[in-house]
Symmetry: C2
Subunit: 624 residues, 2 copies
């Protein structure tokens, strides 16, 4: 039918929404792509800090960093599963903070998550473009354009509906997970059978062991870098209602499976990296070195290479599921424009999806799709929201005091402290490189949400009607006074005056006079025809219709009695072709825009159809 | 007050128009700038053809070319003065053709003149930019930009009103005319006193005298080049109503003075060029050589140089007086959009002026402000309109047979033949270089005007009302059925239902249901409040309000009785700040756009003012 349908597919009915919900099978990859992709690079992040600082010692100290991360991951998975239980509407940290901490914390987590989701899109698309550009240097000048096209594509697929998107993005994620599984299992098998030896580098690549051992600062830095493995865990809790019924149960299962996968991949690659003593090299990632060591340059090696590149684009897709749902909840609570709460033709929150596109595209253009410029703004937000969620749950348990609350308090309290520390470290480390922008953007976004909320509350207060009857039942005789704008005595005027007769006994024809000669002519005709309604002519010395009419209406309004109002009747000329409008003055449009400032005046627009309007108003006619 | 006022100055009242009319003193330079500037270069055009072809013989044959041109000029001035007499509404050749020849000829002359006026602007601005750029080569890259700024400036000055423009552009034109007068008088004096000898050029510059004498083709070519001296004569006749009363008399006087000036300048420079035997050189125009010979490199020489450059920009200004008036007449006759017939705040035809700006800017951008690319399209149009005007007057005399008609017929018949020949020669000579574009543009423009006229006639036919009484007096009981769109029972709804009560006894509340739960709630409230009007709820499975409402209205329309119509009441939320609209759905706007396709349905828009609307519709309140 239309271009929209061609691009987005047939619209879906409201009751088809259950088909659009995520099953566990397809929900997992959608929710996992972000988390899994960040895990794949976490071990590299740790080694990038450790190896230059302490040399070979890095591999011995790796467990002291990995085990706390695994522990924290476990805590997060457990507590987010409880968040899902208690907040089945979704919204994750925002919902927790809203209920248990307060508005400010809720807005902070909402703003932080919003920024982080958008950063996820911008960063992952930009880095996949960077990979493409380094393979085909000829494309270097078109980097921004390529990134924009990628974002547009992902946006389009998501606009076609959750179901469709999950199928498109699900399979590659599964293949990536499976190939990582094979890599780790094969690697571990070879380790135990003793066929895997540490990688030999030429001299000088591995820095000499430092004498003073490992400083606490280096450990903390490495730890917080490794914490990036956790980002993506929150997405499931944000999007609970996107899952098929029973949604909380499905969401929780997906979260558990996701947690297991993350722990398995992170743990597995850690062990392999430790035993292989992998040194991160420019252009040869840790993951690529591990898979080369395990498989040699066989088919499987290339599968891993291709799908680790691919998973970067897919990571962007998680944002398309988490953020629109979050914005829906924020819109429902009145913190962002209401438009985010309505579903599009394919039952997805299309306004939220389009918002991601616009924001991510702006970032990509603003930062010229440079990954190293975008990275500092990334992943601070998610830790802020972790901290808030943990602290919120901690407070919740203390107040609710349900079975085993002390135990739960300990867990979430510990989680809150650790994630708070990580937030601070990550923020400080990246501050100079660009995270300072967040120190501005977060408060601005929070203030924006706060203002929107204030506005909506004020509006809501004004719309509210305590009692309906007293006003409506009052014995007021209501009537309207009609003012028909007239240019000439012609068919449209006849249609207007006929309509006026159907609604009022008090009709005035009003001519705003630009050309005195024309007004004189009109007055003459009026007298000749003995028109049964009075004609008023007002002068417009400056050829402007709005102001003299305004004056006239203020005067008429002041003379109204109780129960009376004014209706101004305008004719709208309906042309066959849009282009024909150029040949008509758009006076009706401008006048109607201005009339609304008169509270006691309503604007009546009567259509006059050119070409196929030969019958008059009031005469019956069939639908074309 | 506003930015508009800052730029354009205070608006003028209708009755101030007499102050805006051109007096003879200021009308002359406005109308003369185009004609005078083309005269200044006409002699050069002739010599550029003659000298390379026949060498020294050129100067002997010059009178055989100049005298016919002067004769033709005289004929044109005389016949245009008669056109002014007979067509005081202005419009020149168009008006003549419309009355005496026919629609096609009228449209041809209108299209030709329109194109030529716009070309005048584009060419004269581009050549003054070219002069500037050759003086400051650093500006070469900004040529187009400079031209656009110049056009914008001239447009702005003209938007400020005819009076203001005539003062700004008048003085330099007078200075130019005066300095040309001084040049010619001094030159002639020196000639007679014998102190002026032919300019000495180094050997080889002047081509040897050719043996075969002068061919007829060369003479014709030189003649038609020289005819460019005449362009600009028609402007006065186009803009007769711009002159102060008595406008025809003033216009005619201006035309006579203009004719005298042209003849004097053209004749004077011809004699000087002939006696000085000036050879046109690259970068040293004929005019510059003459003034150097007469004055030496004194102050007067530089005055002439500066003002000949300046007159080029001013030439553009003639178009701003001729074309808007022509467009006004065309709009009045329904050949171009009606908007061209209304006067702006400063009583100038601002739409026509803006049209010139847009068209000239498009040409300048399209041709990259290259004079040699624009020139071939220039000056064909004016000769076409001369021919049509002459032929039209010829026919007029033959039909009217007023005193001395045979004599007038001879003059205009001769004028028609000569201008027709010149038109053909000019068109053919420039065809390959770009005049072929005119062969497309002219018919396209004519067809456009024809279509617009057809459209307006059709529309006018449909609006016409032969008799008013029969419809109006019919004993039909007219009534309206109200449909109030409801979202919730709140203050805006109360305002709407109160209004509905004032115009109708048949009220339905209509809810288009996007969220079934909400509809259920509304139904319950409705029952609880025992609302006295029926509530109808229609489902919208695809979350789209327009289509289900359309269906509903078609059904209601079909059920209407004779004399009945439908009023759909919409609430328009009026916010304090424009930006706040982002926080509201624009449903009212979209719905009202679509309702107009129902011929029996009128749309009533009731304003609901946020922030300062605490009283209800029907209650009185004072103007804020």
């Amino acid at each position: 039918m239309s271009i929209k349908e061609l691009i987005l597919g047939k619209p879906l009915k409201n009751n088809e929404i259950s088909h659009e919900k995520l099953t566990r099978l397809w929900g997992l990859p959608i929710m996992a792509s972000d988390a899994v992709s960040s895990v794949a690079y976490a071990i590299e992040e740790i080694l990038l800090i450790l190896v230059p600082a302490v040399g070979i010692l890095a591999f011995h100290s790796l467990p002291y960093i990995d085990l706390p991360i695994l522990l924290l991951l476990g805590i997060l998975v457990l507590s987010y599963s409880q968040i899902i239980d208690h907040y089945p509407r979704g919204g994750g940290a925002y919902a927790v903070a809203q209920e248990n901490i307060g508005k400010t914390a809720a807005l902070l987590s909402a703003a932080a998550l919003t920024i982080d989701y958008i950063m996820t899109v911008a960063v992952s698309i930009s880095s996949s473009t960077a990979a493409l550009v380094s393979a085909f240097p000829g494309l270097r000048d078109h980097k921004v354009m390529i990134s924009l096209v990628c974002v547009a594509l992902i946006t389009l697929i998501n606009l076609r509906g959750v179901r469709e998107a999950s199928k498109v993005f699900g399979l590659p994620t599964y293949i990536f997970i499976a190939s990582m599984g094979i890599l780790i299992l094969c690697g571990l098998y070879k380790l135990f059978t003793g066929t895997l030896a540490p990688i030999e580098y030429g001299g000088g690549i591995l820095p000499a062991e430092t004498m003073q051992g490992i400083g606490i600062l280096v450990l903390l830095k490495a730890f917080s870098s490794g914490c990036s493995a956790m980002s993506g865990v929150e997405a499931v809790s944000d999007a609970v209602p996107s899952f098929a019924a029973p949604s909380t149960r499905n969401a929780k299962h997906v979260l558990y499976i996701l947690g297991t996968i993350i722990i398995f991949i992170f743990g597995g690659t850690s062990i392999l990296a430790m035993r292989l003593q992998v040194v991160p090299l420019e252009g040869h990632t840790v993951l690529s070195q591990i898979s080369a060591a395990v498989f040699g340059h066989t088919f499987m090696y290339y599968v891993i290479q291709v799908f680790t590149s691919l998973i970067l684009i897919l990571a962007a897709n998680t944002a398309y599921n988490g953020l629109p749902q979050l914005l829906y909840i924020l819109a429902h609570d009145g913190y962002v424009p209401r438009q985010f709460s309505s579903r599009g033709t394919k039952l997805s929150f299309s306004n939220g999806i389009i918002f991601i596109f616009i924001a991510a595209a702006a970032l990509i253009i603003g930062f010229q799709s440079e990954v190293h410029a975008l990275i500092p703004l990334y992943s601070v937000g998610v830790f802020v929201s972790f901290t808030i969620a943990q602290y919120g749950m901690f407070k919740k348990w203390r107040i609710m005091k349900e079975k085993g609350w002390q135990y739960k308090c300990w867990i979430n309290g510990f989680g809150a402290i650790v994630t708070a520390v990580v937030s601070v470290i990550v923020f400080c480390m990246k501050f100079v490189d660009g995270a300072w922008i967040l120190a501005i953007a977060l408060p601005v976004l929070m203030f924006g949400m706060y203002s929107v909320n204030k506005y909506y509350s004020k509006i809501g207060e004004q719309l509210k009607l305590e009692k309906f009857h007293p006003y409506y039942d009052k014995e007021i005789v209501r009537s309207t006074q009609c003012i028909v704008l007239i240019h000439d005595i012609n068919k449209p005027f006849l249609k207007a005056i006929n309509y006026a007769n159907s609604i009022s006994n008090n009709i005035t024809a009003l001519h705003v006079c630009r050309h005195p000669e024309h007004a004189q002519e009109l007055r003459q005709k009026w007298a000749d025809l003995k028109m049964p309604v009075p004609l008023e002519i007002i002068e417009t010395p400056y050829r402007d219709i709005i102001h003299p009419m305004d004056e006239y209406l203020w005067k008429r309004e002041r003379a109204l009695n109780h129960g009376e109002n004014i209706s101004v009747i305008l004719i709208k000329f309906i042309t066959e072709h849009r282009f024909d409008n150029l040949l008509h003055n758009q006076t009706t449009y401008f006048v109607s825009q201005h009339l609304s400032k008169h509270k006691n005046v309503s604007t009546v627009i009567i259509p006059f159809h050119y070409i196929w309007d030969d019958k008059l108003f009031g005469e019956l006619e069939d639908r074309k």
